[in-house]
Symmetry: C2
Subunit: 209 residues, 2 copies
Amino acid sequence: MRETQTAAEARPYHHGDLRRALVDAARRILEAEGPTALSLRAVAREAGVSPAAPYHHFKDKAELLDAVADEGWQILSTGMTKAKADAEPRSKLNAIGIAYVCFARENPALYRVMYDAARDKEALPAQMQDNKDSAYCKVRDTMIELGADPAAATDLELATTAAWCAAHGLAEMAGFKQFDHLKAELGGEVPFLRAVLAHLGLFPHGKPD
Amino acid sequence: MRETQTAAEARPYHHGDLRRALVDAARRILEAEGPTALSLRAVAREAGVSPAAPYHHFKDKAELLDAVADEGWQILSTGMTKAKADAEPRSKLNAIGIAYVCFARENPALYRVMYDAARDKEALPAQMQDNKDSAYCKVRDTMIELGADPAAATDLELATTAAWCAAHGLAEMAGFKQFDHLKAELGGEVPFLRAVLAHLGLFPHGKPD
DNA sequence: AAGATATCTTTACGTCGTCCAGATATCGAT
DNA sequence: ATCGATATCTGGACGACGTAAAGATATCTT
């Protein structure tokens, strides 16, 4: 390799890592102009390549969006991990839920891409359940720490699923203007989120805080 | 010139009620081929008119989809009303929730159009809150019947919002394959839905059933 | 009956996702 | 180092899409 390729400036003949660049370009467009502006051609344009170039790295548009969504799930997952670590033992589940919803609220376009992809294939990404420290397992383990019975497998899964439903439902509802006055009344978005979560019985043994 | 077109009837010179026919055509496509196949041109084709004809009845594609979504909200609303009427007093809220989720599960494409429209304008349709027997008010009133304090306005709104979050979150999650084994384990979809709802504390004074 | 108006068609433009045929750069084996 | 194989990118093309403008045709008003 003769040309020193510094990250962003020098354009190699074969663009060092176009796959990466495309995902980044997609996220930039997503944040700047929203999901409706996210076309394959726009992504290629933003990355400075021809409209057909992405096809050497992704089977089709959906596969590109999958890569963007995957990054979203990873960011969400690390956010949940951090929130759990920073919280008092009895508040951990609550903190994870708040972190989940806050991610959705701060990255609405990305969150939508994530769930649009999931709805299209009628399945959440496998990584959310499979590995030991997936987001799903994180919630489930926290349930156990809060007093849920690890032996009651089905009930534990139901509780975890319920928590996920609550977080996702709240994440989407919080994006609708109808709830603005409630947010104002309670003094901000996070207090509103906490208040709604308090109404959803996610805590196996008593409420947090 | 009288030519018979796609659906069932001879076409008048000026197509009696094209607006209605377009919404019906859209719903037919939606059910048969899913949301991705729902293009303005396809709807016009299905209704047997030219691609530009819909523009005399709708400002653009989004407005057509709004009309489809509106019909969805109405169907959902009457389903909730019926479910409430048919249930024992203490089970009414639960019954409404189940009716909500079942509608979403039985009409996944329509449900998606409804929420896609809402997400686009970042607001649920006004009809869901405004009039006295809107779906929102129905849930809220049921909360009161179950023992919630009508004077605690904010808390009542929060409880209603929480119920909506739970129902929507569950409706979407139930569409993902990840939960198939739980459904099987519990003996069907509705038992699964009931079991998850049982984990979400939506009942002001004690649990139903 | 006649003009005004509403409804529908035709044609056209720009954008999109995707494919294909070349061009160009990198890599593997000699 | 040379050279063919392979990976990567460009350019052009196709059909489908959303939409606008202008022309045709039916209904309404008077």
